[in-house]
Symmetry: D2
Subunit: 341 residues, 4 copies
């Protein structure tokens, strides 16, 4: 699609936090150029245009529909993803979208149906898969190197506590946060969970005040007998803490958090290693770039999008099931929450 | 009680695996001497007597009742603990017993009632509390150093897979194994769980053949909103794997497994640290000795037994509740399983 | 100097390995734009120009002298640094140059004299100072956090063995490689060594064949009584291994090598951590970018160049002194090799 | 020699620090019994006799010469080792002696000549060889697993600073302390060093006041081209720090210090691991027991003493050579200090 010597021309909708990561990826990667940006904050859009030489679209539709645009990246607030993804696919453009694709299974199904009908790649930003450490864990599990997988633990802890303004529109801890753990656990398991149970609680006053949960633990069972647990907190006091542990019958794998430096200082009170990454942006900087590279490869037709309809749908259902389990105080079979099927 | 210059004179009932640990502790510690041993295997008893100069009792009752005996250690097979503990307490002797004290709450209550009535120390071998690493974790949590505790994870994995002969009389994975995790989690939490949920499965053919479980995950909730998870496997492929993680709002604590040596070898495939301890005996050698020291201090009246009636009882109930949850596929409130109360 | 809204316009002389790092830094950093490139390989220069939109200079002099050029980066082969640095400074341009500045103290003195006379920043690429881990070590030592410094060990090991073609023009292991350890040790020490002793050897046939050394150990003494050792190998079998250890009387600091991922795999043979970085480019990617940021700040007059005349000169003398020690088999006082003074 | 069912009967001369380790080993090991003790402090000797049931010898000669004594352990102050070792060997008794055997090469030669003439085992307490971590390092190097050995670094740091009373009779840092590093480096190298250079300094006022050194660095060269460095401090602020690093052309090995527990606590300032062992006694407790086991095996004729005449002699020469190097400020060939040959 892109001419000889030129990169894929991308429109970027949304210039907030995730948009910033995509801007950095576009700047660092060969084979891509930014040609249109849109943001509700026009100042911000103009600033980016001044730095990069791209155009400022007056509406999202203008950005998505422009002839020169070969691919669309959606990084807007959660509630608007669906409309922009649908519009971009309707305009015949491959899409990389922040999750969630939509607010319910029907919207997710609609997006993937549109992509399938037109043969367009649709990549949903489960960026943890592209993190070098987590992708090593997935590869080790899928290769058989670990043997038969018998237990998986995924843990996620935010740092710092996200801003209330963000949390209020985040869709809740399960769809905002735990959905990444569900995706990771499934990638490692190589099979779909059949049932789960969830305890959730509130320990942080501000978060309770907006009706969201801040701590939870989910137990999962799989058809093979594989068991898993996920524990999540909105406050990892020590930093942005995201790890997975996989017990196989040949090997056990654990991941740790990258540290800010590789220096250690010792005295009689112990040996202190540098703190782990402060927060999401530093931890997933590389993952965002690798995800963008994957998207470009999808656009060039070199590979399929790794985020399949089935998995994106399942992740949504797992979040719904966990919420129902926490509310109804009982184990929930995943199939129970598929109100479309 | 012991004369000047002499140690506390102990009778040791049972000379199997746990008995061996106690023999080693008695050999290594000042302030204790072995004066009687009993085992159903008379050869074994004679061998120990030859090495240590103690007497071989012809019956457990003889050992327990002998005037010279100042304290009794019960390390017999699971089913017999109760009878020997009751007999020793009836004979007015302080008792250190391997867990479980009995097969149900009534037996546990009976033992502690007897100890309370006669003012005798009764120490139940939840030895993990005396492991230097786990006791550092408990101390950090109880001191407030970690702040408000919000999540606890305990993991236990056997290595190697225990012998079927042992498993058949072990009382099942929950009472044999997970009960230690329950005890540890409660020590760290500083409060009692109110409800739990358990998924369990069979992945190991031999263990399925005897009707026991080999993998399970338990989610727990506490009155404060504290959540916890426990995951257990009968086969830690990499070694005897027992760790805990505690998330507070001031600090996060994790423990690792001690390694056989502190040597690391690197090449282009990575850096390989020495394996973790192979199995229970090496991992808990120090814990057993420290537990025995604690018992001696209890006998001398220098401290109370740290394994209270309430906690030993609760541990039993938690194991029962988890079994009920796994069987009935529902969360179980701990109070549900208190059929004595 | 640069107009409002534009970055500092840089000429880059030399587009080999180090030039590639600088290109990446220019691409990733705000506040800089590439306006001229020169390389003896004209194809390579045209390729870079096509990607970045800059001009190809026909001679280094053209690049250095062009009015639009506001700063010059010298990344050519070792022997040519001196001429280009002198030319750039003569043209009134701030310079960032790969080390060494020249082949002897006189050339180094000439460069710094020119920079001083015209008030232009001259930054010499001792990039290790900008590595986050090493800069944390320097900061800890200089802040007093470690107390009185009593011993420093620096170790450097290449991976893979550098190409013979590179080694033949590298200036020898001492000026090519160990000079970085000398710079680091002095930054940490906060004082200048007064004497050193060096053993060197050949274990790698190819390197012996070109008359260079491949392994050496240097012991250093400082006026305060501080001692240090440096050990260097041209072949770190396990990867690119660069670490420092600092013993103070308040704390001890050690650095480790960054690993490729934070995943660890365990079985009965041990726990295997991911390999350390393969080689120079991955290890010092961040350091090169931070060094370039520092250079831009120097150009903008926001800070002084941290690589002072005195230190660059001392690094050269230390390498000379170590060579003399190895050849003459005796300790050498640093002042002995100052043939200019 | 020992009758059926009984252990080897040992006389222990000296009940100070090292004597205490040997007492613990004798208590913990099968196959040995303590039958005589001697100490210049008669109270201490009587106390040990009361605890263990052994006899108190009135003179060292009485202990060494008693018919019932089958082996002698010498753990007296440094200056007296030689006389007791000679006496014990003359009495036909195998000997385990703390190092040094004597104050010069002649005394060392005399001891080994006596042992050789009578075919008696003579084990000198270079206990570091028996430490599980260091013995793994030696085994890895000697097995060829690491490939051709190209560099070795050994580091030793005391904690706390030894008492002046001890230091005054210790024989100086080289013979007291660095001799262990020399022994370890040679075991790993599998060849004898041919030359060394040493810088030494004084940073600790009290130690300077008694004319001893407190910090030093030694560089060594070997016939194969292998290089090594040793750095030693009388004050490891963070704990008793003893490590070795070995670079081979197939693998690199490093050892770390055992930590007091395996707990780690994290907050935003970093992750703090438990402190390393406080001091010599905890670090080498296991090594002392394993060394004693080795001695018993030597006495039973099951193995040769691993501390050969050649190595014990070489260790002494290396310490002398390093002292001469530090004093004369020049590299010293090891053969230079062999004033007996």
């Amino acid at each position: 699609m892109s001419g000889p010597g030129r990169g894929i021309r991308v429109a970027l909708i949304g210039l907030g936090r995730a948009g910033g990561f995509h801007l950095a990826s576009i700047g660092a990667l060969p084979g891509v150029e930014l040609c249109q940006v849109y943001d509700t904050n026009d100042e911000r859009a103009k600033e980016v245009a001044a730095q990069t030489g791209c155009r400022v679209a007056q509406t999202p539709g203008e950005a998505v529909g422009a002839d020169e645009v070969e691919a669309v990246v959606v990084a807007t607030p959660t509630q608007t993803h669906y409309d922009f993804v649908v519009a971009a696919l309707a305009a015949g453009k491959p899409v990389l979208s922040e999750k969630p694709l939509g607010s319910d299974l029907t919207q997710i199904d609609t997006c993937f149906a549109a992509a399938a009908a037109s043969g367009l790649p649709l990549l949903v930003a489960f960026q943890r898969r592209f993190d070098p450490t987590f992708s090593a864990a997935i590869a080790a599990a899928r290769s058989g190197e670990l043997g038969e997988i018998r237990f998986i633990r995924s843990v996620s802890r935010d740092h710092p506590i996200p801003a209330l303004a963000y949390l209020e529109t985040s869709g809740g801890i399960l769809h905002d946060c735990v959905v990444h753990d569900f995706d990771l656990v499934c990638q490692i398991a190589g099979e779909d969970p059949e049932e789960l149970f969830c305890f959730a609680s509130n320990r942080i006053d501000e978060i309770r005040s907006i009706g969201d949960l801040d701590h939870l633990v989910v137990a999962l069972s799989f058809p093979s007998g594989l068991l898993a647990s996920i524990d999540v907190s909105r406050f990892g006091v020590h930093g942005y803490d995201q790890r997975v542990e996989v017990l196989g019958d040949r090997r056990m794998l654990e991941t740790r958090n990258p540290a800010e430096t590789a220096a250690a200082v010792s005295d009689r009170s112990g040996t202190t290693l540098a703190p782990i990454d402060h927060s999401f942006p530093t931890r997933y900087r590389d993952a965002y770039r690798l995800e963008f590279e994957c998207f470009l490869a999808c656009v060039r037709g070199e590979r399929e999008s790794p985020t399949t309809h089935a998995q994106v749908r399942l992740n949504h259902m797992l979040a719904d099931a966990a919420m129902r389990s926490a509310l109804e105080h009982r184990p929930v079979r995943i199939e129970e929450v598929d109100d479309v099927a």
